[in-house]
Each structure stands twice: as structure tokens, then as C-alpha cells.
């Protein structure tokens, strides 16, 4: 579904992505992990086609992203940014309806279907009571839920999440990821940039580790999520055990650790 070949990307003189090769199949739920400054967010922006590609290519369903139209992209890929700042007091329902923009004809107004989709995703994300509140007046976590709902309203095949749940409390995180897993089961392809290793291990079946602009590790969670890999990549002492309920690997951080452990 998404094919990335020797992708180079950057800002100004700084090259952030230094030759990324990645294949994502339809229906995958992949976590992108790695230390700060590794190029995770830049990769998502490049895939979404909002920053220019220096060299290499990104194709979605065989089409070169850089050569597609903005609305075409937005109907196929939706993005959830880490956080948003609002200058103007839009109503939450209006913000969610913005996700229907790529389906609008240039003069037209939102159709009943658009309204129906907006209300449905607001229900799924449990923010219907916020519909008429101003986005500038709701809490940070609530406004993030509005943005997640907006991305779902795009009815895209691919969802790109950049630290989407970092500002949410534990219950909301689980709620959002349960919903995302449900969407994934229905066929949506998800690519989640995450800092929370354990949340990634809980929900993603495949993990891609980025460090210094390169893919350093890529594979099924059960295989790559271990003491050695995590400690090496994050340069900290990290131990992995089994989750008491689901059995997936979970990471534990050792205080005062001496960096990577030897295998």
C-alpha cells in the first residue's frame, strides 16, 4: 500500500531522513519508535505529502505522493498531529466537519452524509457532548479527541498518528487505541509514531525503529521487542517481561542503568 524508497528529507541545511526504505501493507498496524530527533515525525509528514521530498520516492497505491492532488491525498490519508493550537473559537463539531473537506465540491456545503459521519465519529470517540463547545474552551485531552475524530471523519484508508495520545490520560489512551484496533480490523492501515513503548507493544503487531534518520530495526513486535534491541536503540538499560494478561512483551526501565546491556 505504501512504498518508500531511499527517501531523503530535511529542513534547511539539516537532513533528517537519510535514506529510508519501508513497505507498509494494507491493513497493517505499525508503530514507529525510536529516540528523539530520529526523524519519526518527519517521516509521517513526508508520507502525508505535506513536506517536500529531497530525493527518493513515496508511493501510495502505486502513485507517487508528490504528484498527487491535495484532496486526493486527504481522502486516502488522515493525520493526527501531536497537538494543535487554536486561534479562533471554532465549535468542536465544526472542527470535526473539517475532516469532510476533501469530499466537498468547491462551492458546496456539507451534506447530510458528511454530518452523519461527523456525528458518528464523535460518538465513537465519546465527544458528542462537546459538539457545540468552543475548541478553545475544552481541555487539552478533549481537544485531542476532537482532532482524532476529525481524522476518522476523513474516512481514509491510512491513518497517520504522531504521538496522538501523549496528552491523554491512561483511560483515554486505551479507549483511543481500542477504537483504532477496531478500525484496523475493519481494514484501516495505521502508522503510529509513539514514545510509549508499552502502548506500542500492546497494540502494534509490527514495530519500526528509527534512529538518526535511518531504519535501524523493523519486524514483528514479538521478535524485535527485547532487552538487547531496546537497550541498544534507546541507549538505556531496558528489560522486557510478559504482560500479565495479554502476554505481549512490556518494557521496564532500570534506574541508574549503565546504558546498553551486553547480550
Amino acid at each position: 500500500m505504501i512504498e518508500i524508497d531511499s527517501l531523503h528529507c530535511g529542513y534547511g541545511d539539516r537532513e533528517v531522513l537519510k535514506g529510508i526504505d519501508l513497505r507498509l501493507d494494507a491493513g497493517e498496524m505499525t508503530g514507529i519508535l525510536g529516540p528523539n530527533g530520529g526523524g519519526k515525525s518527519t517521516l509521517l509528514l513526508a508520507i502525508a505529502g505535506v513536506i517536500p521530498v529531497r530525493s527518493g520516492s513515496i508511493r501510495l497505491g502505486g502513485k507517487e505522493i508528490a504528484r498527487t492532488e491535495a484532496r486526493w491525498k486527504a481522502r486516502r490519508m488522515a493525520s493526527v498531529p501531536q497537538r494543535s493550537t487554536y486561534l479562533f473559537p471554532f465549535r468542536c463539531l465544526s472542527v470535526v466537519l473539517m475532516g469532510r473537506y476533501p469530499y466537498l465540491r468547491s462551492w458546496g456545503d456539507y451534506s447530510r452524509r458528511d454530518m452523519g459521519v461527523a456525528l458518528e465519529v464523535m460518538d465513537q470517540t465519546d465527544i458528542l457532548p462537546l459538539a457545540q463547545r468552543r475548541i478553545t474552551e475544552v481541555s487539552g485531552g478533549e481537544s485531542q479527541m476532537v482532532i482524532i475524530a476529525r481524522a476518522l471523519a476523513q474516512e481514509a484508508e491510512v491513518l497517520l498518528l504522531d504521538e496522538a495520545t501523549s496528552s491523554l490520560d491512561v483511560a483515554r489512551k486505551i479507549q483511543v487505541f481500542d477504537l483504532l484496533r477496531e478500525k484496523n480490523r475493519q481494514g484501516m492501515t495505521l502508522l503510529c509514531v509513539m514514545h510509549d513503548l508499552n502502548l506500542a507493544a500492546l497494540y502494534c503487531r509490527r514495530l519500526v525503529f528509527l534512529k538518526e534518520g535511518k531504519v535501524v530495526l523493523d519486524g514483528p513486535t514479538s521478535e524485535v521487542f527485547n532487552d538487547y534491541n531496546l537497550s541498544r536503540i534507546y541507549e538505556a538499560d531496558i528489560r522486557v517481561s510478559r504482560h500479565p494478561v495479554t502476554g505481549v512483551p512490556q518494557a521496564h526501565f532500570v534506574p541508574g542503568g549503565n546504558g546498553p546491556v551486553d547480550p
Partner: protein, 401 residues
């Protein structure tokens, strides 16, 4: 969560089958027909009903505000027509209008009155109204594009750029030419406005980011320099000081229907351009990246909106000089009452802006004793200045990049 859409699923097909569009107006908040026919028990149904009610309420408020503002604007135009140096009783004003329209013949009517009422007063009232509408819409547009609540044609130097363009054209002697029947002066203003805008954006950008304070600072730098150049040009042209005051402070003195005809085509073009892209303005105000992710062709749409707002500013300035703060204050007042969605915002801003400038001009006409007129820019600055201070001091909604 698994049954999250259970209560909505019965109405979704119902909604999908009906291809009816929402009428333009209170943006999306219009649909009374998503009434839950069979309201399920429990809170979900209650919440939906509540949303229905709120949506209907917002819609009603928009309609009410629009009706109220339109009516006040019409009444304002009438009452402003009663005020002037020559005292004409209201009944005579009505008769003058009817006579001039050919609907009534009244030999007892003073011959001068229809001229005074229609050609001196009403033309000026209409012009100030259109200029107010143009400036308010331009202000709202600049605020949305630049994500800057302090933006307004005046504070970001675009108005002064337009005045400079017009002054230069007049100085070089081709200000009074016409192109295909359209006045040339607004085009010269437009060139000046776009030049000033590019200068401000270039100056205000630090490390690739356009911060709102530095943008306003750059606006002041550009406006001050261009004001000085306008004064220089006017002095070289051996024109009177009043002409400098006209361009820098703004005035409607001596303006008539010809000026309305002169500016209106350009204003209409600006309104249409912005009207077409009003919804994109909502998305652009979230920032470039999010707008792109939501499918907006950011570069193209922004260019069109900037040209639209510059057209409105240029047309306004070419007939009335630089008038500040209308475009700053009016959109904020509307946002406070109705919300930020740009479609209703632009419509209501235009109405309120027209009314604000109409009455500012009346004040400019009558405030000074002895028949002297104040530049209307003085009145709007007196009213808008304190509001600008207030905006500068409040940082609602966190740090804005």
C-alpha cells in the same frame, strides 16, 4: 465501544439517502432535519436531541444577527442621511428620495434638497458603508491567513502600501486614466498593497516563522516609511497638506457616486474571491500543515485569498485613504458573539463593518464645531486603538506560533 454506533446507525442511511445540501449560512450548524425520529432511550438520544437544539439555536442566532444588522444598516443609512450642515426635516428627505427616483412629483419641494440628500449625503453614506464592508472582510481574511488576531489592513501596512501606490500613480500623472471603463487608481493601489504585503512578510519572518508580534512590527516599519514617502510625493506635487492628511488619515469629504462606481467593481471581485474560499479560511487558520493534511491546496488558496483581501483594501484606500482598525475590531466582535466559522463570520463582519464606518464618518462630519471635518481615520483610531491594546495584552488560547 463495540456498539458505539448502534443508536446512530438507523439514521445514517436515512441521512445518506437524502442528498440535500445544507443551505449556506450558519455553516454546518443548520440541519434541523437530523431529528431523531425514534429517539432511543438513554443518554445518547438525549445528547443528540441536545445537539439538535443547540444547532438550531446557533442557526437562529445567526439569522437573528443578520436580520438585526441588515435592518440597522438600512436604518443607519436613513438616519445618517438626516444629519448634515443643511437641516432637512425627515419628511422632506423621504420626499426628496421619492422625487429623485421618479416615484413622486412635488413642486413644493426645495430644488436643492434632492441634490443634497442623494448626491451629497447618500453617495457618501454608501461609499463609507462599502469601504467599511471591504475593510472588515479584508481584516477577517488577513487574520485567518496569518493566524494573527492583530492583523488588519492597517496594522500590517497593506493600507499604507495601497495609499502609496495611488499617490505615486497620481504623481506620475496616470492616476485618472481608465482601463476598459474601470478606474486605474485601484490597480495602482493594488500594486502598492501587494508590494507592502510582501515586504512585511519578508521583514517579519524570523527563522522561517512569521510571528504575530514581529509581523505587526514589520507592518509599522513599512507603514511609517511609506507614509513619509506619501508626504514627500504630495509635497513635491505642490499639493496642500489636506491631501497628505487625506491619504494618511482617510476621509470621505467630497466623495460622490463616481467614487462608488469606481471602487465597487474591484470590491466585488475581492468579495467573490474571498467568498469562494471562505471555508478554506477555516482550515488555513489551523496552520499550513493541518490544512494540507485536510486536503487544502494551501499555496494556491492562500494566494487567492491574499489577492482578494488586497483588492478590497486597495479599492477602499483608493477612494478614502488609509482608515485603520475597522478590519481589526469588527471580526473580533463577531467571533465573540457567534463563533469563528468564516462563512457566517465574513457576512456578519461585512454588515457590522459597514455600519461602524458609516457612523464613524457621521461623527467625523459633525464632531468639530464650525463645519470643519475630522479625518475619519482619527475617529476609527480613537475607537479602535484601545481595543488593539486589549488584544495585545491578552494571550488567550496559549502561545501562537
Amino acid at each position: 465501544m463495540s456498539c458505539y454506533c448502534s443508536y446512530l446507525s438507523p439514521i445514517i442511511p436515512l441521512l445518506a439517502n437524502n442528498g440535500d445540501k445544507f443551505p449556506m449560512g450558519a455553516s454546518i450548524l443548520k440541519d434541523r432535519s437530523i431529528a431523531i425520529r425514534e429517539r432511543p432511550e438513554g443518554t445518547c438520544g438525549l445528547i443528540m436531541a441536545q445537539i439538535q437544539k443547540q444547532v438550531a439555536l446557533t442557526c437562529k442566532r445567526f439569522a437573528l444577527l443578520m436580520a438585526l444588522l441588515s435592518a440597522s444598516l438600512a436604518l443607519s443609512a436613513f438616519f445618517a442621511g438626516l444629519i448634515g450642515r443643511v437641516e432637512i426635516p425627515p419628511s422632506e428627505v423621504v420626499r426628496s428620495i421619492l422625487t429623485e427616483l421618479g416615484l413622486m412629483k412635488d413642486p413644493s419641494l426645495n430644488d436643492a434638497w434632492p441634490v443634497v440628500v442623494l448626491h451629497i449625503r447618500l453617495s457618501r453614506i454608501c461609499l463609507s458603508m462599502f469601504v467599511g464592508m471591504a475593510l472588515a472582510v479584508a481584516g477577517a481574511t488577513f487574520q485567518g491567513i496569518f493566524r494573527n488576531p492583530l492583523a488588519d489592513p492597517f496594522t500590517i501596512g497593506v493600507s499604507t502600501g495601497a495609499a502609496f501606490g495611488a499617490s505615486l500613480a497620481l504623481f506620475l500623472g496616470f492616476g485618472h486614466h481608465a482601463l476598459f471603463g474601470l478606474g486605474f487608481l485601484p490597480l495602482a493601489s493594488l500594486a502598492g498593497a501587494l508590494l507592502a504585503l510582501s515586504a512585511v512578510v519578508a521583514l517579519g519572518r524570523i527563522n522561517g516563522r512569521l510571528r504575530r508580534e514581529t509581523m505587526v512590527l514589520a507592518g509599522i516599519v513599512v507603514a511609517t516609511s511609506l507614509s513619509a514617502l506619501i508626504s514627500l510625493i504630495k509635497s513635491l506635487d505642490e499639493e496642500s497638506v489636506s491631501s497628505i492628511v487625506f491619504w494618511v488619515m482617510g476621509s470621505f469629504q467630497g466623495r460622490g457616486w463616481s467614487h462608488v462606481g469606481f471602487a465597487l467593481p474591484y470590491m466585488t471581485a475581492g468579495w467573490i474571491l474571498i467568498g469562494i474560499h471562505a471555508r478554506e479560511l477555516d482550515l488555513l487558520s489551523l496552520g499550513d500543515i493541518q490544512a494540507k493534511q485536510l486536503g487544502v491546496d494551501v499555496d494556491r488558496v492562500r494566494l487567492r485569498l491574499l489577492i482578494g483581501a488586497s483588492l478590497l483594501t486597495a479599492a477602499a484606500v483608493s477612494v478614502s485613504g488609509v482608515i485603520g482598525f475597522v478590519g481589526l475590531v469588527v471580526p473580533h466582535l463577531i467571533r465573540l458573539t457567534l463563533g469563528a466559522e468564516h462563512r457566517p463570520l465574513l457576512i456578519l463582519s461585512a454588515l457590522l463593518g459597514g455600519m461602524a464606518l458609516l457612523w464613524s464618518d457621521v461623527a467625523a462630519r459633525i464632531l468639530l464645531p464650525g463645519g470643519e471635518e475630522l479625518p475619519v481615520g482619527v475617529v476609527t483610531a480613537l475607537l479602535g486603538g484601545p481595543f488593539f491594546c486589549l488584544l495585545l495584552r491578552t494571550r488567550k488560547g496559549g502561545e501562537i506560533p
